[in-house]
Every structure is written in structure tokens, then in C-alpha cells.
Amino acid sequence: MVSLDLLLNALVAGILLGGFYAAVSLGISMAFGLLDIVNIAHPVFVMLGSYAAYIMNVRVGFDPILTGVLFTPVFYGLGVLLYRVYYASFERKGAESLRGLVFFFGVLFIVEVSLLLAFGVDYRLVEAPYIGESLHIGPVGIAFRLLVPCVVGLALTGALYLFLSRTFYGRAIQAVAQDAFALRLMGADPFRVKGIAFGLAIATAALAGALLIMIGPVEPAMNREYIGRVFAVAVLGGMGSIGGTLVAALILGIAESLTATFSGPSWSVAVSFGVLLLALAVRPAGLFGR
């Protein structure tokens, strides 16, 4: 029995979830699509963002979003630093793809264990006045816990989109993906440009992490559950396409929500990965691939 109410609510829930997925996946999309850096460790940086939000929430009582914003410069610095190591060890030698992947696997373990040692294995949550409350518009209920991540995710997507298309460095980042040599001729240093881009990609994790811990409890090893999902979003969106990432995130969010509502949630994750497999088989470059 499909009631209109349920359908409407499922769609809204899917969109909210999609906005959040976009926030988590943007960093992958950038690093992966624009820079060709297969940063499989991205979800663990999201975790790091979650724990930053947790610590600031417990110690100083900061709202997770505030922490997320405050920590973006820190994460940006971390990203730039990580890129330098990556560049010196792999890119300069032209041996990036496979070894880079293994490198990031290693980084993933190191960050995960550091979190384990620092915070222990227990689940952590944050407090905010709006968690557990909801807003009702007609028959549609919207949980703030999911609305806030969605709005922030959309804002982040918009900001990145504008940055990439309107600013000098943004255009340089897009250009570096296509032709680093030409960029050099234009007087921009590809190394610097890529460093900025990777820094930004990691910076998004600070915010995404804050959103993640707002939605539910977090523990260090949880990043692994997101590896598949964020890569699915990035690939489905067509890598490097910011708009595509958002659309893909919304599609997966809605697919999950609809399955969870109507045909048994057990299959919801499999359905979204099924969508991905299908999309890959039909259009390998993703929905909005170049």
C-alpha cells in the first residue's frame, strides 16, 4: 500500500540524506576527479572532523557546525601537508595511481588507530538543542538532525561550485586536471594549485565530520562503512563534477530512503550499489563525466 504521505516523506528524507552524502563525498570528488588522487582515506578524515566536533562540544559546548567551520583551516593545512608528502613520494616520480592508493590505505589505518588511542573505542555523540526535534509542514515531517546536514551540504556544494567556476584559483584547479603544462605557461604553479585543491578537499571533511556526528553516534572504525558509499557517489556523479556529485548523492539518498520505506530497508544499501553498478555498465564515466 503506497500512501501519498509516505511517498512524500520518503522523498524528503531521501533528499535530506542526499544532501549529507554530498557533503561527505565532495572531497573525494575533488581529489579524485580533478587531481587524480585516489584518496581512499577521505572518510577517515571525516571521522577526524567528527571527533573535533565532539571534543569542542563536550569541552567548550560549541555547536558541531561552528566547530566544523572553525576547523576547516586546520584541515586545509593538513591537506596541503599530505599533498606535499604525496607529491614528493609519488607524483613527482610519475608512480601515483596504485602506490598512491596503498599509501592512502596506510594513512587510513594510521589516522584510525590514532583516533582509537586518543578517544578509545566507545561511541561518541554530540549535543545540540535541535537534535531529536523536527519541523512539520503539512503531512511532511523534517528532522532538524537531518535538515541541518542537508542545508550545510548544499551550501558547501554551492560554495565549491562558485569557487571553482568564478575564481582564478578555482579555474586553475579545473585547468590543472586537463593540462598542467598549459597552466604553467599561464604563470600558475601546478604544484601549488594542486596543493590548494587537495587542501580544500580535506577541509570539506571537517564540516562533513561535524554533520556525521550530528546524525548519529560515531566510533573510529566507522569510516570504513563510508568508503564504498562516498566512492559510489563520486563515481556515479562523474568524477570532478561538483554538480554531478550532488545529483548522484541525491539519487542514492532517495533510492535508499524509498527502499527503506517501501520494500524493506534490508536491501537499501544494496539497491544504491546496484544503481551504481548499472550506471557504470551503461555510462562508465558517470552521469556527468567529462
Partner: protein, 433 residues
């Protein structure tokens, strides 16, 4: 390889690199050799071996259990050990991976030569140890596995978790026992749980019980363990308008379900049942007043009806250690039982005055054991002879302050009658006010 090394620049870095490699190989070699050196023996202590989840999915509980077990060993040694010999715990991290368990237990028995083994935490980590234990006919006290002995019916298996002789059935029946005694009597039920070992077992038991209690199932579904958003599920349940909702969930999804239920306004007459995690301080304090009215299983709560000798001192000492280790600061859920399953083993060793596995197995079967979780009597299949699963209701919680959960009155025992410390507020909605 696309790029090629320039010979000039790599000469220096090549040597440096070589040095690093040599050093790392040496480090690995030293680490390797260390493993094969047998542990130096002291004054011949009684060794108890086990694997425990110290990393991985169950590590939060595994670490808490380990603290409790170490406290037991300290207590035993303070009293002069067992049979005049010191007690020593030998344990390894099973990483919450069943695949590590066979290796760990063979190592414990054959290399470390432990006298006894006890299980790690959780059904999935107990199961892979069973064949080894059975092959060698050992007594095997186990910690929180659901129906591990159902197929094998092994005589040496002793489960400290008080699920009862038919674990999945007895466990879930308690929730319906409470529901069926309320007026108006509930007619319909929705059941939901995670796609994992415990929830599936619990749901299977629940389906049987639903038939027995004559309820009508209006919703029955499972969700994947890494579900992010629970509002669609809560909404789908709400649409079926059930009188009772039974949730069998693991910690992160328990929180997700409670929040989602509030957000979509899911208000059945009774809500809860089998949610793991609503016993830990981290979740109690963060959910706070949103817990009010939920009826959920538990094994021990600080109610006056459950003040067994020794439990309070134990918890005080546990709480000091837990603060240091960063694990559950309350320790009401697993730690007392981790202490108790070594207590029964210790009592059996003392009682039989021997280390003989057969004698100890028979002793454990025939005697009743005094522990910090009360009197323990094992049935023929090694489960508790009678179920002591509690159903507690969260009542009068008005803040997220952790201190309130140390005191009675917030988690009121509503089942079984023997330990009852208050009445159910029914329907659920009434408790929310």
C-alpha cells in the same frame, strides 16, 4: 612505471633508503623472534586464557569486560589465589574477528599452556572457539553469546548471560509478558532489527512468541547495519499503526531509532524491547529525556531489588579504572557478568580442589553459585536454568546528567515479578509527559 629515476640524484637517497629498510627489517625480525620465546614462568600460577575484543566493532564492551576480569584476578590473588596458587590472566586481542579465534585458543592451550580457557565477548567470537574446546573436553564459561550451544549441546559450555534455557525465546518473551499484562491489551505488533547476528536471533524468537501471545504482526523488517537515516523506517512503522513496537538493534542504530521515533512522532503503546546500547552511559546521557517511557531489556540496574552482595564495591572500583581507559563509565551492562563468569570458575576450582576439567564441569552443573550478579544456576544445556532477563522502563529522566543513572528510580524493573521495583507507565505516551 612511467617515470624513470635519474641515477645521480638517487645515489644518496638510495643509501639512506637502504638504511631505513635494514632498520625496519631488523625491527620486524626482533618482533618476530620475541613471539617464539615462551613466557617466563613464575611460581607456577593457575593460568586462565581468553581472546577478547580489544579492537574492532565490539571493543568498547570488550575493554570494559577486560577491566572487570582483571579486577577479579586481583581480588582472587589478594585472597591468596586459588588453591594457594596465584591466578594469571593470559589474553589476546581477537580484533572482533572470528577468524583470529581458532589461532588464539590453540596458542593459549598449546603454547601458553593455560589451565583454563573462557570465552571472549559475543556470539560470533564464542562460536569459533567451540570445536577446540569440545575436542579437548574443557570447561568453557562463556560471556554473552546467544544460543551458542544450541547445535552442539556440549556439556562443558556455561553461559553467564541470563537469557534462559531457550535463549532467543525466553529473552524476547519477557517483553511480551509485560505488554500482555497491560490494559487495554495490545493487539498488533511491529518488529524491526538490524541485519546482524543478535537482532536476527532475537527477531526469530520474537516471531515464535508473537504466535504464543496471540498478537498480530503488522510490520516485520530488517535494516543493514550501516544505515544512516532511520526516519524512513520509523515512518513506515508508524503507517502500520502498531500497538507495540519491538526493536532489536545494536548501539548506533538504537540511538538512530530512538531519535527517529521522536522525530516522526511514532507513539505506540509500548516501545523498545531489545535495544543494545541503552545500557551505556554515553547513550543514556545524550538521549536523556527522550528515553522516557521506553521499555527495554537489561541484566542489571541499580534498583533496590537487585542489590547483590559485592556488586556496589565492584562497580566503584570498575568506575575508577573505566575513567582511565575511556570505556563505559557506568559499567552496569557487561562488566559485572565478566566478573561473575570468572567467579563461578574460581568457585568451581576451589570447590573441587582440582584443575580437572571433568570435575569442574560437573561441579558447575550441579551447584548453585553466589556471584555479584546474584545466584547462578546452570541448566542442562549450560544456559541459565531460568531466564533472568529484565525489562526496565525509563522513567522521570529530565536531563542528560550522568549522576542520575547511578541511582535507583530512573530505570525501573517492570519484569520479572521477583525483581520488580515499580509499575509500567502505560501507554508509552503517558511517560513522555
Amino acid at each position: 612505471m612511467r617515470g624513470d629515476n635519474q641515477p645521480n640524484s638517487t645515489l644518496r637517497s638510495g643509501r639512506w633508503r637502504l638504511r631505513v629498510i635494514v632498520v625496519s627489517v631488523l625491527v620486524v625480525a626482533v618482533a618476530l623472534s620475541g613471539a617464539w620465546v615462551p613466557v617466563a614462568l613464575g611460581a607456577d600460577p593457575i593460568k586462565i586464557g581468553f581472546g577478547m575484543a580489544l579492537t574492532g566493532g565490539l571493543a568498547a564492551n570488550g575493554k570494559a569486560a577486560l577491566i572487570a576480569m582483571q579486577l577479579w584476578a586481583e581480588d582472587a590473588n589478594k585472597k591468596g589465589g586459588l588453591l594457594g596458587r596465584k591466578v594469571e590472566l593470559v589474553y589476546y586481542d581477537d580484533q572482533t574477528k572470528g577468524a583470529t579465534v581458532p589461532g588464539i585458543y590453540t596458542k593459549l592451550l598449546d603454547v601458553d599452556k593455560v589451565h583454563f580457557v573462557v570465552s571472549g565477548y559475543g556470539t560470533n567470537l564464542i562460536a569459533p572457539a567451540m570445536p577446540i574446546v569440545m575436542e579437548r573436553k574443557l570447561a568453557f564459561p562463556a560471556l554473552f553469546g546467544l544460543a551458542n550451544n544450541e547445535k552442539a549441546n556440549y556439556r562443558g559450555y556455561f553461559q553467564i548471560m541470563p537469557a534462559g534455557p531457550r535463549p532467543a525465546l525466553d529473552w524476547t518473551a519477557t517483553y511480551l509478558e509485560v505488554a500482555s499484562r497491560q490494559t487495554p491489551k495490545p493487539q498488533t505488533i511491529a518488529i524491526v532489527g538490524a541485519d546482524a547476528e543478535y537482532p536476527h536471533n532475537a527477531l526469530a524468537g520474537m516471531r515464535e512468541n508473537i504466535k504464543k501471545f496471540g498478537l498480530k504482526t503488522v510490520y516485520d523488517a530488517t535494516y543493514p547495519p550501516n544505515t544512516v537515516d532511520f526516519t524512513p523506517i520509523a515512518r513506515a512503522i508508524k503507517a502500520t499503526n502498531p500497538d507495540v513496537v519491538f526493536v532489536a538493534s545494536y548501539p548506533p542504530d538504537s540511538v538512530g531509532m530512538v531519535l527517529a521515533a521522536h522525530e516522526v512522532g511514532l507513539r505506540p503503546k509500548m516501545f523498545g524491547g531489545g535495544m543494545v546500547g541503552l545500557q551505556f552511559a554515553a547513550f543514556l546521557t545524550k538521549l536523556g529525556p527522550k528515553l522516557n517511557g521506553i521499555v527495554n531489556y537489561d541484566f542489571w540496574v541499580p534498583e533496590p531489588t537487585l542489590k547483590f552482595p559485592g556488586i556496589e564495591e565492584f562497580l566503584k572500583r570498575y568506575q575508577v579504572r573505566a575513567a582511565k581507559e575511556g570505556v563505559d563509565p557506568l559499567g552496569h551492562y557487561l562488566p559485572p557478568w565478566a566478573y561473575a563468569y570468572l567467579q563461578v570458575l574460581g568457585q568451581a576450582i576451589e570447590g573441587t580442589k582440582s584443575l580437572d576439567q571433568q570435575k569442574i564441569t560437573e561441579y558447575l552443573h550441579t551447584k548453585e553459585h553466589d556471584t555479584i550478579v546474584g545466584k547462578v544456576k546452570f541448566g542442562a544445556n549450560g544456559e541459565w536454568a531460568t531466564s533472568r532477563v529484565l525489562q526496565v522502563q525509563f522513567q522521570g529522566i529530565d536531563s542528560g546528567d550522568v549522576a542520575q543513572f547511578h541511582k535507583p528510580g530512573k530505570r525501573v524493573v517492570v519484569w520479572p515479578e521477583t525483581f520488580k521495583s515499580g509499575n509500567v507507565i502505560y501507554p508509552y505516551e503517558k511517560a513522555l509527559k
